[in-house]
Symmetry: C2
Subunit: 208 residues, 2 copies
Amino acid sequence: MGDVTSASAHETTPAKRRGRRPAGQDTKTALISAAREVFGEVGYDGATVRAIATRAGVDAAMVNHWFGGKENLFARAVLELPFDPRDLVAQLLSGPMENLGERIVRTFLTRWDTGGGDIFTALVRSVAGHDQVAHVLRDLFLNQLFSKLVGPGDADRPELRATLCASQLIGMGMIRYVAKFEPLASADIETLVDAVGPNVQRYLTGEL
Amino acid sequence: MGDVTSASAHETTPAKRRGRRPAGQDTKTALISAAREVFGEVGYDGATVRAIATRAGVDAAMVNHWFGGKENLFARAVLELPFDPRDLVAQLLSGPMENLGERIVRTFLTRWDTGGGDIFTALVRSVAGHDQVAHVLRDLFLNQLFSKLVGPGDADRPELRATLCASQLIGMGMIRYVAKFEPLASADIETLVDAVGPNVQRYLTGEL
């Protein structure tokens, strides 16, 4: 599912085709299927990377290679998060630090708006309903995403800043997609980038 | 339930006892009971102020007198919100405008922390689960609370500002009480007043 982009990029540049790529995509797909089965059978804590890899018929090292660990595999396979946090961090950090807050707001709204907010709503239901999912999302959003965005600015209390950023983004999503309070629910993305971006920026680099 | 404070204040100052007070409390209690029954039987849209008052055996004008309308009565009786937005607005506005954001954060955290966040969690479940509840909460939080807090500053786009304030407060509650991401979940109230207050203030009076 998440490989649509790279697969079509592939088709338009056949000269660059390399032998290992399709095999890699097969490995990813097999791991996602196996992960859904194993997480479904024994739960998040009971599922081991080894068991998932065995079910997929690949080496356990492939889980780290393609997903960076069990948390991300769970996020992609079960929560169906449509992105890898490692890609997102790299993308967000490519630009001036003083506009990072605006880039974060624009990026999240653009992704969440796709599909009419279903991604965000599913995410909130997951957090509210299951402790183990909350645990995975905490790891994803704080350790793998926001902590890495706060880090480069060398600010005090990076963990608090990361949770403050998360609070504003989750709140914006709640109002836009779940409660649907107007005018925020229908505001265009750049209006919200201007309104919310500087507040996220203060959490990243400002004085708290 | 909500009358515990005034009832006990009453007992300690018997000299100030006035005839109409207990009757008023009886009327409020009767209206809350009747409202729970009628809302439960015919739903929010089907319930009329007149039907609730008739069930309680009081005049329909008492609903406006004690609750300011059907929305507030629903909020107090069914959602069990422990405050009247009219009191809250008056309390928050008594102080300098430039610190209003901090007072808002302090007031909400103090109320929500009481009971370990159950109030907030119930509120989010209500919004996510029922369109009619979302409608009532939108009226309460936007029309009766935040619009009145934004208004006095004479700022542009007051409706957008009100929803932005709501987004930050709801997000803070989500992280603190529902997702329980540390260190925000255990941070003391004044740390969060310093961190979040200025961001709420920007939504109230700053340039967007």
